[in-house]
Subunit: 411 residues, 2 copies
Amino acid sequence: MPEFLELMSPGEALSRWFIALGEPYIESEEVDTIRSLGRVTADAVHAPYPLPAFTRSTVDGYAVRAADTFGASDSLPAYLNLAGEVPMGSQPLFTLKPGQTALIHTGGMLPENADAVVMLEYTQSTRPGEVEVMRPVAPLENLIRAGEDVEVGQMVIPAGSRLRPSEIGGLMALGLRTVRVVRRPRIAIISSGDEVVPPEIDPLPGQVRDINSYTLGALVEEGGGLPIGYGIVPDQANVLRMALDQALRECDGVLITAGSSASTRDLTAQVIQQAGQPGILVHGINVRPGKPTILAVCGGKPVIGLPGNPVSALVIAWLFVTPLLERMQHLRRTRPRGQVMARLSLNLPSLAGREDWIPVSLTFGKNEFTAEPVFFKSNLIFNLVKADGLLYIPADATGLSAGEVVLVYLL
Amino acid sequence: MPEFLELMSPGEALSRWFIALGEPYIESEEVDTIRSLGRVTADAVHAPYPLPAFTRSTVDGYAVRAADTFGASDSLPAYLNLAGEVPMGSQPLFTLKPGQTALIHTGGMLPENADAVVMLEYTQSTRPGEVEVMRPVAPLENLIRAGEDVEVGQMVIPAGSRLRPSEIGGLMALGLRTVRVVRRPRIAIISSGDEVVPPEIDPLPGQVRDINSYTLGALVEEGGGLPIGYGIVPDQANVLRMALDQALRECDGVLITAGSSASTRDLTAQVIQQAGQPGILVHGINVRPGKPTILAVCGGKPVIGLPGNPVSALVIAWLFVTPLLERMQHLRRTRPRGQVMARLSLNLPSLAGREDWIPVSLTFGKNEFTAEPVFFKSNLIFNLVKADGLLYIPADATGLSAGEVVLVYLL
């Protein structure tokens, strides 16, 4: 299947791929909450207890029956009798009778019959056992009601949420020390190319060390997947086919970095096309870098053929593999990607009708970022090391001018 | 040491803390490059080999001596003799004599005497052994010279760089399978409060489960540190003092989440002040949430007293602990934090002279983000679960209006 002559836009390509993929099924597993950072919930989490479990003061002060303070002022304070002090960490053993108050600390449990707290600074205690309140409080003032954060049974974390520090704290607050998450998708990485050798080999003239297995592995890891290396495969249809078949049996998805010449790209396409139904959906995307990208679904599993050029492979993986991993983990709430506005340092030409993603380095000064394009030739991986983000030139633009304010997605 | 009456701005507080801290010394360690994602380089990395190691074609086409193509056109092609085909992954065994050319694939090694490549589409071969070139090429066209990405001995990754997928690929391209990185800073987390119980305990009335140890632990992990829990300490000076002394002996820095009442905050401050020189540098910051924060240096190690309120603790940790971890790891090149511009959904009041950080949820529609403030009362951890980012209201603003475009830092 040769490259299409009519190239698709990246957005259209992604959507065609995802429609054919359907909703990928990946099992869930139970993990310790403290080890769950970055994982995605498989089920919705419901609160087994209310939070807080009891009504708590949010200030240091005096617990009162609010009605006892109505009309109080500096010139005419309400005089209340001190019933005691609420101990931190246990239930007060007294209840408030009308006209009574109790010293309470932030986080303390309100005594029975108390319905508000007066802040310490609006009180004074001139005589032992008596407290003067100089300001009125309304019922429910300066407290959190039992169940105000969360009611029993309330859904607190939806299925498909990525767990961040705040979610982990919330689970622990509810005593949930394990959580059911989507298993990390196993992503096979196959590197092809007769010229490619593993990093431990000293390359002979004409040979280069494998880069893509490692950049893509790290990107899969960042996206929540489990990268599984299938080594370097020579440019022979039968060997590549065997590697792909094995990867499809053992993993949830497959990345192949094809060689960069047209003939090896054709070979990769041919092998992918025969590996399962429906096969190749997109061959060639209207984007730079990354035009020769292949998106396929083989027997229900996603397969992507990435350009051999390491810079293109990484940019394309960022555009297609990261969203794929989110989808495979059933991430329902995609949080926005980091981006900054920056002033472009020089003119950038671009072909109308094609999306461009330009690696840029960012420097901050005079209250704004400056984006400096990192120009790259096909194989210069160390140019990408200089990049902080990718500048996006939309398909309808014919370029950008120096001094323009542009959107940069952070890498 | 009571809270200062004159509150410092967050920026001023951070800078005072860092000046007193000096350049923290943390050892380095050698780790496998494929396990180094997110770590920070301890030393600069220099290239042991040039990249590429040989001059390579960047296109599919014919390697030529450029001078042989000068003047070539569609009507008057240059006729060249085919010397052979460059095999992928090995050195061509022939050299180009004047008037000769060789078939070459993308990534192939140029034969001796070739100094440019003509793209396949500008050639045709009508007779066996002969190639017609219809366009001239300049010397160095369509190739990458040996050493063009990196020269031998060139510094490729500076000390203090966080390793991302592209850096990992670059190291592997150079055959560097291990890399010297800064040891992960060991950060002790002490939770104090008579009312706090560990998550495995069913809290009695008046008790709450520990949240801060886990939210802060996850945040330390995200920032590249190694969180080490020191459990829950009751609000007693001698017990807290013992825990802090032990933590200072065993770790590189200490986080204490103080109880939230004024008296337990004073207790924490007192204990920190006695734990080592110079002691407390900042006590009270002009920011909401998080006013009662304590920043200290005890015997050369950073100590931070965080508010007990889990929402405030997490926001303050994001503002102070994340930059601290970057400093402790000697991160020299701080990459920009993710941020988005968003339209505010409602009016937000704010005190002039105080920085406010408001948790917001973000929704995308009509080509822009809308930021919806998540209002929080002191202990509502699940409100923070709804937040995607923090909206910043600068100290000189008295609030923001609905419809304004605001800057939101992503959590």
